[in-house]
């Protein structure tokens, strides 16, 4: 496995989208981006200091202009958790048509528009992938996984870095060309990381002792062939899934 990081092709399977259309999104998991987690950590500290300010609207965003934002995704909330967290964050579906509309609460801690976008994107994906509301614990999990995964030393290898850049560029190029520019990848990165297993799992669960993970990718695109070309066979298994009323979806998971 390329230690500089395989990209994650997160299709965010939407039941409203015909699989034949294959909404392509070349992306890289959040824990490849150490700065992002630093910002998350600051965000949490800030929240701890100011948690009396409950029910503060934090951010409104869309996951991508090319992907229809469903109400279930757009109305994500940070809901109270078992530790009595009282932050409530609402992204209104009505304003989800505008990309990366991140409001000051996030902006104070994350001064980079890209990172704000990635933060919003990641939380939206979490909500959609697991069909639940994001919680404050999720942010904690991201911080935990992120700090443990970054591999700065791998950047020293320029040859490997370029190899990875071409690899990730291939994902982006195929996604955008295959859709004639309609499905532009939300982001692409070659930021290094060490272990592909951690980002693969639920960041919330990995932060909790004794939690189990269920790593499963769902790929519905031709990216699958590229993946299968580079991953060891022994680490792969594949299923042909037949969701009710839908055509087969290729599901691939890593052991």
């Amino acid at each position: 496995m390329n230690p500089l990081g395989e990209s994650l092709i997160d299709q965010d399977i939407d039941q409203d989208i015909d699989q034949e259309k294959r909404p392509s999104k070349g992306a890289t998991p959040y824990c490849k981006i150490p700065d992002f987690f630093v910002c998350c950590y600051k965000l949490i500290l800030n929240w701890l200091r100011n948690r009396v300010l409950a029910d503060v609207t934090v951010a409104a965003f869309s996951i991508a202009p090319t992907t229809p934002a469903s109400p279930g995704v757009a109305r994500m909330k940070f809901v109270p958790t078992t530790n009595c967290a009282s932050v409530s964050v609402v992204a209104a579906a009505a304003s989800a048509q505008h990309r990366c509309r991140t409001l000051p609460w996030l902006g104070d801690e994350i001064d980079n528009e890209r990172l704000r976008h990635l933060a919003a994107l990641n939380m939206a994906r979490l909500v959609k992938r697991e069909s639940r509301k994001a919680t404050f614990i999720d942010l904690v999990g991201m911080v935990t996984a992120g700090f443990g995964d970054s591999d700065e030393a791998a950047r020293d290898n320029e040859v490997l870095l370029h190899h990875t850049a071409v690899h990730e560029a291939g994902h982006a190029a195929v996604a955008i060309v295959d859709s004639s520019g309609k499905n532009t990848p939300e982001y692409s990165t070659i930021v290094a990381r060490k272990d592909v297993k951690v980002w693969w799992s639920n960041p919330c669960l990995t932060a909790l002792p004794g939690a189990t993970c269920s790593p499963t990718w769902t790929l519905g695109t031709r990216f699958a062939s590229l993946w299968l070309g580079v991953l060891p066979r022994k680490s792969l298994w594949a299923l042909i899934g037949y969701p009710a009323g839908r055509k087969p979806i290729l599901k691939i998971a890593s052991n």
Partner: protein, 86 residues
């Protein structure tokens, strides 16, 4: 056909409790799927090598590209392609 099309390097392994015939059927589906998609992917990459190199070079400079930046690269690539055709 190159090696990757004919070898098992792009072959998915089927596991589960399915019958032998079902496994065989699924394997055929997977093989066909992967072959078609592999060819299509390689074709896209070869035909759009300029775009591929542009994105890769940009990634080497900026480790993270967001959607807008990728779209800009694509727009520039399309503009160049149209200019060449004219």
């Amino acid at each position: 056909m190159n090696d990757a099309e004919t070898s098992a390097s792009n072959l998915a392994v089927i596991l589960g409790n399915a019958s032998h015939s079902e496994l065989l059927h699924n394997e055929t589906l997977v093989r066909n799927f992967l072959t078609v998609e592999y060819k299509a992917t390689v074709k896209i990459l070869n035909e759009n090598r300029t775009l591929l190199d542009a994105i890769a070079d940009r990634l080497m400079r900026d480790s993270v590209l967001d959607q807008g930046e990728i779209a800009e690269l694509y727009a520039a690539y399309v503009g160049q392609s149209n200019a060449v055709q004219i």
